[in-house]
Amino acid sequence: MDFEEEHVGGDDIEEIQDGEDIFGEDADISVHDSGSKKDAVIFLVDCKKSLFDMDLDGQGTVFSKILSAFSSFMKAKIISSPDDRIGMIFYNTKSTNNQLKFNNITEIYKLDGPSADIIKNCLKIEQNFEKDYQLGNNAHFHECLWLCNHEFKELDKNKFNMRIFLFTPDDLPYFKDQNSRASALKYAKQLKDADVQIELFPLPSQNEFKIARFYGEIITVDLDEVNNAVLDTSTKIMDLHQRIKQKEFKKRALNRLIMDIDDIKIGLKIYCLVNKAKKPYGKPLDRRYNQQLKKKAQFIDEETGQALFPQQISTHLILGNEKIAIPKEYMAKIKGFEKPGMTLIGFKSSSALKDYHNYRASYFLYPDDEHVNGSSQFFDALIQQMILKEKIGIVRLVPKQGSQVRFCALLPQAEQYDENHFQTPPGLHLIFLPYADDIRGLSSVKQEGAEITRQTLNAAKILVNALTIQDFDCSNFEDPSIQKFYTYLQGLALQEQNIEEPEDLLQPDFKGMEKYRDIVNLFMSNVTLECSNMASRSKGQAGGRGRGRGRGKAKQEESDNSDDCSKVKGKNKGSSQKQKIEEEDSLEGEEIYQPIKKRGRGR
């Protein structure tokens, strides 16, 4: 089955896929990321001198960080939601350039769809700043808000979520007099009434940033998101990049649902916190004219040669050499024996959920107090008690009409904040449980663990502790194949001649591991010693399998000073290096550990 081909031009409604997967995506709770409202964001940057100082971490200026955050924000948008709008306005610049001709305000990018050009060029703004804009006199803050409001006015309020990302190191903007402060508040009120949200990103400065001094009166908070992080009154400046990353996706529920417990009804919303990003399917294009093509599937009766209408086509299953007619309507009935909804059946101890009970990504449940009052409090009590009693919930779930009934586990998660004040939200994770059909019996590949000595085990423990990655976070890794695809696509869009390969972050840090080589060798020599002891004791077996060699004291220069293998970033030249080592080994005439490649029978 040609998978990719099938999805080409999937927007043509008249076609029916052959050999279609009847439990395909649409049977599931589908992820509507592009659904409902689009996003419109203006980056409003207060250009103060301090922005051009080095940031605390010494890796570039604050200004450059804002630009690179803007660039990755746009990059994410161009992939996930090309119809969103993004703009950028600088204020307190010497230059003046905007529709309303306000002084010292420069509109860098008018609110528009994300574009490859901007992604590429926005990073150059810093080096041209002196030339193009320069630091200038104070702009009137209310005029900044006015200008933003003006830009947003052109958009349909019902179609867009509108947000201003405000970057400033000062907790009080410049006001000529009380009047101008009042005007700022007036425009802030207008923005709020127009459903525009202001998100504040305080930047590092000499003085403590007190939100209460002014910005508390103009920035808005979504009541659905009120938590300690939002109400953060501390001076802590979060990592800019991460904070913007957090704001990248406007929070959106997949579905509203009722959970039944006998006749109790609990309102909840389902969210997707982890979703495998995939490369998009290409659309058919005529190479000669770069014209997008449409696809039309025609079905022809082989016996009569007649073209068939959809209603003249039925479906069947081949079993035991017979064709059994199973019309599509049957499938709806077969899957429809349970009504859509979620039913809490009971609780089990958390150890009942095994590591191998998994076949797909999870969802997240958060109470919907608006739908059922009391749900939020019920969740609060439920989460606390489940954690206290070390329990998981078991529910039966039919996400919507036409999807399969499934049993799922509910994992409680209490609200928490890390050192950077990032919230771990309160709620329940929904883990899909496999049926007996989904678990493969592996009785034929039984492997009872080999006996090992205490010494070997201790060496293994030391190895494990030494090669431990501190503060591991999945978000620090990127999917190299998706990164490459989009880097190339961007390069093609910008008609670049030489496209730079993106860095593959998902590589072992051989360099960082270098200093632990002796620990690895210590462990391996323990294993080898144990094997050779066994072999010498039981004659006859020795010649057979399980040969190994101790790597004893491989003399390696410890040139590397980085004491941290958390940055798993090594530039791998694995294969060539390996070859060299093999040669060395044979020269030494030692008993050689043969990498399986030589006798492997990989497919």
Binding site: F23, A436, R551
Partner: protein, 738 residues
Amino acid sequence: MAGKEATLVLLDVGSSMYEKYKQGGQGKEIRRLELAIDCIGMMIQQKIFNYKNHEVGLVLFGAEDAEDGNTFYIQQISAPDFEFYRNVTELVKHDIPKIRGGDIFDALDKSVSTLDDHVKTKKMDKKIFVLTAGFGQTEYNEKMIAKLIKMIQKVDVKINFIALDFMNEYDVELDDPNKIDNQELLNDKMLNAVYESQEQSINSNLIYYMVQELRNHMRIFPANIAFELYSQFHTKQMQARASFRGDFQINDQTYLQVLIYKRCTEERLPSLKKHSAIGEFSSETNRNIVRNDTIHYNPEDPNMAPIEKENIIKGYLYGRSLIPVDSIMEEKMKYQCPRIFQLLGFVERSQIPRHYFMSNVDMVVAVDSEQSQKTLSALIIALIATKKVAIARFVGREKASPKMVVLLPHKSKSYSCFWMIALPTSEDIRHFQFQTLRKSTPNQQIAVASLIDKMDLEKLPNQSGEPEELLKMKYIANPTRQYFQQVVMHKAITRTDVIPPISPLILEYLHPEQRVYNYAQDAIQRVKNAFKFKVNEIKKPQDKKVFWKQLFDEQTTQQVQQQIEEEVVEINREEEEMVNMFAKQKLGFKDDIIEEIGSVDPISDFKKMITEKRVDQVDSALQQMQKVIIGLVDQSVKGSFFPKALECLKEMRKACISEDEAPIFNKFLFILKDKYNQQIFWAQIVQQGITLISNIENQKSSVTADEAQDFLNKEDNKHQQMVDTLQHEEEDLLADIE
């Protein structure tokens, strides 16, 4: 050779089989033969749907019209089809014979040779199912049985003996030659079993004797639990095939050889194929065929003229522009990578949230080599002991996208392996902010606590009041798939357009909650009373924004609350406090400089002190931490604070490495050793592999890696025993009972 199997089913058709099945329970009037045929039907159904390489034959015994007086071939061993199924279901309609049952052993004897003749040297698993109530007379004596046993072993055939109202006393749990007490108990039970007829008693003794001799070749399933009986045919066994065979690299020089198998993956329904509905429908597979002619055309061309394949390339959206990509470029855009499986590092288990498991589960085992098996085994046990997991890069085949996977150590009776599961990368993760939940009252907490206790699926009292586990997932087959098969079978047999209702058996196991709710009714009522649940009409979503400042304002807080809730119905005293939650709750974070490590959250205090940039507090933090650890250990009752103390010690070790204070830690470890040498706390330290910081980890240390290992090795016997006990406890915790 993968998964081929030949099965011969021996069905007793003596008159005893036409009697009522006694263990059926109330309301289930069913004759033994019907039950047996249901089972066989299920099996054939499973084979038709799932196992293309399986062959099945059917032998009736106890049939009067048989030439040899006992056995009668109904179906030669072959791939089962619907005709076979139809014939089997017809069996019930036969005349009831005079003899009560067939000679089990004669039938077995003949079947084993038939099966052997059929399979010959082909690589097929051989199986025999016997279904009988045990009323048949037999000529077989012990000597002949012994001969039969030898033949069964030689031919290597597996026998599943399904006894209906017969041998109910047999208990497989007791049948264990290593536990003499149990075995004697079972012997007693079997000898003293009371039967309707003498034949049953003779057969029972002979069969019991056979099982004792044929432990690896014969199993008995008393049919008293119909479900177990059915499930015998339900579970689909797949021949395990390694999806990957290659090296697992620990570093650039060190490898071990592993095999990867699928463990858990969604088993989907088979796909439907299209056929033309204009002619007459034929069940032959080469009729009514539909050909798919797909064309691409220019939407501006009114004639919809097809465009030739060679002129069609792909275009990908970047922003709003469509970027043309030809096949050469397409290939270039693919990430090129060799097949590889590499360790990235080890990580605290708690740092991988369960909800980050993204995919199927695979099993990683070592190949059949001592070196690899010992290496893997040592890593697995070490990871379990240190409560860590491995993170790896995995590329299953050439040019596939690299995946970040977690390797979870697993050790049970039969497996020592890693479970391998894909983790998300930054592209996949969404950080949404959520509102803090409304605080529940103590009263509500108690109500929910009792709800959880009462709705315990692991020990819900059954009719006789004994605790029973409900919803054991490993016995629950996918109901949709079951129903799908039921419908397809019905359609295949009846060839009508009626969709049969779903089997009540399926519905029953799908709906265990009624029993739970009945038992937990008091607790449910209590929850209802404690919370003022009120279902509202869902209104159009509207943004609920307020100015930040308003959240701190008591008055607006109240308005806000009302806005969220519409109205609090009966405000009792507890809830009144709730309304002011925002105003009264301490908001935001305190970010004062911490100077002291408290006992509530010592690790977080310690971390803050170590990372504090404003003042150097490293020395003070390390000194205080030592006191906290010793305090925790000394205050422990039966080791109550040991886990906390260990976490503190690990955190301190981490800090001493990063802050170049290795000697402080090493000195402290010696102090602990002196102080607690003979105590369980020290055993826990060793068990978790917490040792001296070596000069490899931190240059300030004067300890070599070998010395660090020796530090763990050199312990006396008593101590080692303690460590071993701990280790086993850890492993048992992870092991699942299979």
